[in-house]
């Protein structure tokens, strides 16, 4: 469903992505690991449609269409979802209002009718239970004053409400305590289906015990330098990225 080919991207002449190749088929879970600053969030942001990057080479195709040509809201409507590494606080907009606007916008693009306030509240109450989120967070402004863990859970809650096809999770596990990690993973696993693809960015093998990936990729300096199955994550945990960087140097 998602094909990324030889993707190069830079910001103000600084190259961040250096030829990324990645194909995700429906039903697959891919994990990306890699050192700080290697370009993981940049890749996720470009896929979601954030402005400000120059795509100097390569392409990304989503459901057979040129992804990079689409506005972010169009990508969302077509089922692409990014759980942000740093969710944004929006004072003055209530979480409920925001979610309803989002759900209805996505439904509209799919040719479905708006949910009225009653229907929506019922729908939301079911979803919020799955994520074990405090319902009072619904009345507060989007992410404002939420704890780090609450923000991350709110991202997965939105994902559950929007029911996307391609889910990108950027370090959703960072800042979660052990119980929350379990809750969030359960939330993600509940969405796993043969039609859905996942791209899970993480620094920790531990998350992958809960959300078991089909493939693990290592991103270094804006390129995927190694891919494997879930055992690659164990190897990284044990040996660190130095091991890969050394073996890369050796290969040259």
């Amino acid at each position: 469903m998602l094909q990324i080919q030889n993707l190069h991207a830079s910001v103000e002449d600084k190259t961040i992505l250096n030829g990324v190749n990645l194909t995700i088929n429906p039903g697959e879970v891919h994990a990306i690991m890699g050192p700080n600053g290697s370009g993981k969030s940049t890749l996720a942001s470009i896929l979601a449609g954030r402005d400000g990057y120059d795509i100097t080479e390569g392409s990304a195709t989503y459901l057979g269409e040129d992804l990079l040509e689409m506005d972010p809201e169009v990508r969302a409507a077509k089922g692409l979802f990014l759980a942000f590494q740093y969710p944004v606080e929006i004072p003055g907009v209530s979480n409920t209002y925001f979610l309803r606007a989002a759900v209805n916008a996505v439904r509209k693009q799919r040719g479905e009718s708006d949910m009225d306030a009653m229907e929506f509240m019922k729908f939301i109450r079911e979803k919020i239970k799955i994520l074990d989120l405090d319902p009072s967070l619904l009345n507060r402004s989007v992410n404002e004053g939420f704890s780090g863990g609450e923000k991350k859970r709110n991202e997965i809650f939105q994902m559950a409400a929007l029911e996307p096809k391609m889910c990108i999770l950027d370090e959703t596990d960072s800042g979660l305590d052990i119980d929350a990690l379990k809750v969030v993973s359960d939330g993600v696993n509940a969405l796993r289906s043969p039609e859905r693809g996942f791209l899970v960015i993480t620094h920790y093998q531990r998350l992958l015990n809960y959300i078991v990936p089909d493939f693990v990729h290592v991103l270094v300096d804006g390129r995927i330098v190694r891919s494997g199955d879930k055992t690659l994550a164990y190897e990284l945990e044990e040996k660190g990225y130095g091991w890969i960087e050394e073996s890369l140097a050796g290969a040259k």
């Binding site: 979601a48 449609g49 954030r50 402005d51 506005d71 972010p72 809201e73 990508r75 969302a76 409507a77 979802f81 990014l82 942000f84 969710p87 944004v88 929006i90 004072p91 003055g92 907009v93 925001f98 606007a101 989002a102 916008a105 996505v106 693009q109 402004s141 989007v142 939105q158 929007l162």
Partner: protein, 443 residues
């Protein structure tokens, strides 16, 4: 510029109503009115050369012939459009400066609470009213550059009707008290000068919501407030100004806070051609809290001018102030925030913020924080920003499927709604949020 010898109608009209005004209140008020009129006549209509009116062009004022206002016959149906008519508790209505008993119902208030027309209060409780009338609305004896008080004088000259609210010691008023000020100018341009006196005695608590609304025609509302908060009293005050498009609205509000009192002001200015509010808080006791919140919206050629002044005269007090405005088209916003910290007022903690969001290249904001601090152990901060729509928030909303135009609209709304959120009375907050939303969408 045309210079006329003839006094402005705001002055010359006095002749016609002098005797009528004299019938209200104690005899001593006659001299007070005459003196105030003389002060206004001497000062005249301000020009932009007057420091306190630098950004407020009142040309239109100068050219208008005002006639004395008299009441209009309205029914509850005419007031349906008021954003705050959702409030169904005690309500007192002033139409064109006159008390409208048929649109007022203040039954069901607990003992010790009086909500009545000022003229009536002057008859029945002269002593109580005169404790504060004319005593709070003045900067005499206060620090720093004297504010320009000419419109307070003008109000005093015509002072007779308005509202009196009194809450006796220790009484907590549960229902929200709603005061409505309606203008309908169907007999020429009218000028109204309501005076509002509010007293909360020691330990009393109340929520008072005022709405100012225009039902058409050209009018000038010149209101003055005198608010006395006794020790440990708590007042949540909301002022919603949604006057008509040819109204000039000028408000001079004076608050006196005794020790331990809490004053929360939520000022909403969406209407009028020219809207000017001077909110002056004199902190005359320790351990008080003062929160001044303001949200305003300028569209078309509207001018919205907010002046605030907090006198920290006693130690250990907190004040927190945030004003946020959205300015579109050719509208003009003005914010002037004065904070005086007296020599005595150690451990004052004062925070002032004002932010404007400019939606058009032709909209402008003039901002001036003015902090004068004479104590050495204080924490005073101020910040002013001219905001743009936050790109990260815009992307976040769009990434959830919300189209760019809607996302922008939502963020503009949220900018001011953040201030409305501070209103604790749910129906009032929701009604004002809906009003803001409606106006932004120009329905």
């Amino acid at each position: 510029m045309l210079i006329t010898e003839k006094p402005h109608s705001l002055v010359s009209n006095f002749e016609a109503v002098r005797e009528l005004l004299g019938l209200t209140g104690p005899e001593s008020l006659r001299a007070v009115r005459e003196a105030a009129l003389a002060k206004f006549a001497e000062a005249g209509i301000p020009t932009t050369r007057d420091e306190e009116f630098k950004y407020l062009p009142l040309n239109r004022f100068r050219e208008t012939e005002y006639v004395p206002a008299y009441g209009a016959t309205l029914s509850e149906d005419d007031l349906k459009a008021l954003p705050l008519s959702v409030l169904d508790g005690p309500c007192l209505t002033i139409v064109n400066g006159e008390f409208a008993p048929e649109l007022s119902n203040v039954s069901g208030l607990p003992n010790g609470v009086r909500v009545m027309a000022l003229s009536e209060a002057l008859e029945q409780h002269e002593g109580l009213v005169m404790r504060h009338l004319g005593k709070i609305a003045t900067h005499e004896g206060k620090l720093g550059t004297t504010n320009d008080e000419r419109f307070t004088h003008l109000n005093t000259a015509y002072m007779a009707e308005g509202v009196y609210v009194f809450v006796a010691k220790g009484v907590m008023v549960e229902p929200t008290i709603h005061l409505r000020f309606i203008t309908q100018a169907d007999h020429g341009a009218i000028a109204v000068h309501p005076r509002v006196v509010i007293e909360l005695e020691e330990g009393a608590a109340a929520k008072i919501v005022e709405s100012y609304h225009g039902l058409g025609g050209e009018s000038f509302t010149n209101v003055v407030h005198e608010i006395a908060l006794g020790a440990n009293a708590n007042l949540e005050y909301v002022k919603s100004q949604t006057e008509g498009g040819s109204t000039i609205h000028i408000a001079n509000q004076y608050v006196d806070q005794k020790s331990g009192s809490v004053f929360t002001s939520n000022q909403v200015a969406f209407g009028a051609a020219i809207s000017r509010t001077d909110l002056n808080v004199f902190v005359d006791g320790e351990h008080t809290e003062t929160s001044l919140n303001g949200a305003y919206l300028g569209q078309g050629e509207q001018i919205i001018d907010n002046h605030t002044r907090i006198d920290h005269a006693k130690p250990n007090c907190h004040s927190f102030e945030v004003y946020k405005g959205i300015l579109d088209d050719r509208s003009v916003g003005v914010f002037n925030g004065k904070i005086f910290v007296y020599e005595d007022a150690q451990k004052t903690d004062a925070k002032q913020t004002n932010q404007a969001l400019l939606l058009s290249a032709n909209a402008t904001i003039n901002t001036k924080p003015q902090l004068e601090i004479f104590a050495d152990d204080v924490k005073c901060t101020h910040g002013a920003t001219v905001g743009q729509i936050r790109e990260d928030a815009l992307f976040y909303l769009r990434s959830r499927g919300i189209p760019e135009m809607d996302a922008r609209g939502l963020l503009v709304y949220a900018f001011a709604a953040e201030v409305l959120e501070k209103i604790s009375i749910d129906v009032v907050r929701e009604a004002l949020e809906a009003e803001l939303y409606r106006r932004l969408n120009r329905d």
